[in-house]
């Protein structure tokens, strides 16, 4: 059972909360920053999962019990490459959205927009009805 460094735990907590907060924003740029930060958070967590740091593995210079666990490092390396590729893709998507729509906001889905329109129509017809009712009352 490895014990976790308190500083690391705090850094991870901050990174995860900042990342998820940004992910829930409307602007794609902020979401992008959110994924970058979340990516860092999860890679750091992978490192922490590997236990305390030690001597370099694989070189045959240290005894096995003094070595750092190489597996989480290999995994983090792969994860970094993947998050990097996806970040560039999101950047391209944000640019495309900006050039097509003039902004990089994540839109409401079709269903939501349909419901909003219905709601507007309903509100308008109610207003009309109230106006007519008001006219009748004054007459």
């Amino acid at each position: 059972m490895t014990t976790i460094n308190l500083t690391m735990a705090l850094v991870l907590a901050v990174l995860y909360s900042v990342g998820f907060y940004l992910l829930m924003q409307r602007s794609l740029m902020r979401i992008l920053l959110g994924t970058v930060i979340l990516g860092h958070a999860s890679n750091l967590l992978l490192q922490v999962a590997g236990g305390p740091p030690g001597r370099a593995p694989m070189l045959g210079e240290a005894r096995p019990e003094d070595m750092t666990d190489p597996l989480p490092q290999a995994m983090a390396l792969t994860a970094i490459v993947i998050t990097f590729a996806l970040t560039t893709f999101l950047l391209a998507l944000a640019y495309r959205s900006w050039s097509l729509l003039g902004d990089d906001e994540v839109r409401d889905d079709v269903e939501d927009r349909r419901i909003q329109r219905l709601e507007r129509q309903l509100a308008e017809s109610e207003e009309d009805a109230e106006e007519e009712f008001g006219k009748e009352a004054t007459q």
């Binding site: 490895t2 990342g19 992910l23 794609l28 979401i31 994924t35 979340l38 990516g39 958070a41 999860s42 890679n43 967590l45 992978l46 922490v48 999962a49 590997g50 597996l71 989480p72 995994m75 792969t78 994860a79 993947i82 998050t83 590729a85 996806l86 893709f89 999101l90 998507l93 495309r96 959205s97 097509l100 729509l101 994540v106 839109r107 889905d109 079709v110 269903e111 927009r113 349909r114």
Partner: protein, 511 residues
């Protein structure tokens, strides 16, 4: 012989690179894609035969012994799903080639579609075959990255909107996936699935449950399990028909596969798993009711997809051999049927120029072939005998009745009701789109609702490809006996992980 396990991943990856390099030669690209996917079908059948007669085929990549290296495993479940997936990807590629030739002419090549499609196939195969959690993550990423490109290709503003939702949700779940891997590694010190099964059992109960729940959330997003399904009906419908077909057929099912694999091999549950039963219940209901509210054909099919994900979760929730047999049969049936339905929907929308059911009509007279092609998978999805859906649903119902707990009875009842709702939704599509007056394509009154997509002609290749998949659904019903036997043996393997563990780790199991 073990090299057979690597081929479904290596062949499409290599072909994707080659296809990108040959971007100028349209015909070569097409032939290359079809040959490679055809070879994978043969390979998958061989793997299924070997896995069924001689036990799981295991390949330790680079000679590193498990649990340290990367392991590829083809057991009965993986091989069976690989067979179905490869047949579907092959048929969809034929359809897509046909569609591209009618739309852009034979000379026009594509620099992105073929390479990305092959990458997608490689990712799907790797997900079925990978024997460790991190490799599963890499497989998901290969699959998802290519799906991001496929869903946002030829960007229009609606595709950008839909693509964004899809990419962001998938990215968030992928980042949770890495987090889950880190936590699993921190508590057990391994990511090998076979090894994890033993190590996780030694952990305290609370920690086991927390990890199992995190896994359910990560794969639940990929599988579009309610309440994590909202991205699916929003993003799938805007993509071109072949892309939607392969996404709907395969991507969610890979999530289900990952869920089955981890929850049987790594975590173990009580006799019936009430949380999963509850999730399956709301998934079935929300999906079916969502489908009834839709006017857009593709969105309706997407909601039905969500609803039927609930069926697969149900079998997993019952958590015995009969239940898992039902799930495996259902996954096999659903991959083919859902892909066929989206391909037919592609034919329908090209014919009518709209996805709105209210603006369709009289298709049964105007295009009888499309009507037949729609009727077959629709009846199968609804579970009408003698189609594959009936066989799969019967197996699930049997498991639900056999489980003997009141939660299982309740969800079984809901399953029957949902089947009826599926029939109702399909009947609505049938009466609105296929019966009634033939309507001519009209002007778009409201461009923002994304209902009018424009007409196109369909050539014979597209119809034949759809027909082949529709026929596959009938074939599944014809070979239901042997298929159910194989599924039963696969479920047996899943419930008792020893076969898998011995095959991966060698003789040192049980220690």
């Amino acid at each position: 012989m073990t090299v057979l396990v690597a081929l479904p991943v290596l062949l499409p990856l290599a072909a994707a690179g080659l296809s990108l390099a040959l971007g100028r030669f349209a015909d070569v690209q097409r032939v290359l894609g079809l040959v490679v996917l055809g070879a994978i079908i043969a390979d998958a059948f061989a793997l299924l035969y070997i896995a069924d007669t001689q036990g799981p085929v295991v390949l330790q990549m680079g000679g590193w012994p498990a649990p340290f290296g990367i392991t590829l495993v083809a057991d009965r479940l993986s091989a069976l799903l690989l067979v179905v997936s490869s047949v579907v990807t092959f048929a969809v590629l034929i359809y897509s080639v046909g569609q591209r030739i009618t739309d852009y002419g034979r000379e026009r090549s594509s620099t992105t579609f073929h390479p990305m499609y092959l990458m997608l196939c490689a990712g799907v195969s790797l997900a079925y075959l990978s024997g460790d959690l991190f490799n599963l993550f890499v497989a998901f990423e290969i699959m998802l990255s290519s799906s991001y490109v496929l869903i946002t290709r030829r960007t229009t503003s609606s595709r950008i909107r839909a693509g964004m939702t899809y990419v962001i949700v998938s990215l968030a779940s992928s980042l949770l996936f890495i987090t889950m891997i880190a936590l699993v590694y921190a508590s057990t010190g391994t990511v090998n699935l076979a090894d994890l099964g033993q190590r996780v059992a030694e952990l305290p109960d609370g920690l086991q449950n927390a990890l199992a729940l995190l896994v359910v959330i990560v794969f639940g997003v990929k599988a579009a399990m309610v309440p994590l399904h909202f991205w699916l009906p929003d993003s799938y419908p805007t993509a071109p028909a072949p892309v939607t077909a392969v996404f709907a057929g395969l991507l969610t099912k890979v999530g289900i596969y990952a869920l089955i694999r981890t929850q049987t091999l790594v975590f173990s549950h009580d006799e019936s798993w009430n949380l999963m039963l509850f999730l399956s219940l709301i998934t079935m209901i929300v999906g079916a009711l969502g489908a009834l509210a839709q006017n857009d054909l593709n969105r309706l099919l997407s909601f039905l997809l969500v609803s039927h994900i609930g069926y697969m979760l149900f079998g997993l929730g019952v958590y015995d051999v009969v239940g898992l047999t039902g799930v495996i049969l259902y996954v096999v049936h659903h991959i083919t049927v859902q892909a066929t339905l989206f391909l037919v929907s592609g034919l329908v929308t090209r014919h009518t120029g709209t996805v709105a059911l209210t603006r369709m009509g009289g298709l049964a007279r105007a295009a009888p072939m499309i009507a037949v092609l729609f009727a077959l998978p629709a009846l199968s999805l609804a579970g009408v005998p003698p189609f594959s859906g009936f066989v799969a649903k019967l197996a699930l119902l049997q498991s639900g009745v056999g489980a003997g707990t009141w939660t299982a009875y309740l969800v079984t009842g809901v399953l029957v009701v949902t089947s009826l709702l599926t029939v109702y939704a399909m009947a609505r599509v049938w009466t609105r789109a296929f019966w009634g007056q033939i309507k001519a394509p009209e002007e778009d009154p409201d461009p923002t609702d994304e209902l009018v997509v424009g007409t196109g002609t369909s050539n014979r290749t597209m119809v034949i490809a759809t027909g082949v998949l529709a026929a596959a659904s009938v074939v599944i019903a014809l070979v239901a006996g042997p298929l159910a036997d194989v599924s039963g043996r696969a479920a047996e393997d899943l419930m008792h992980g020893e076969t898998y563990r011995t095959a991966v780790l060698g003789g040192e199991t049980g220690g």
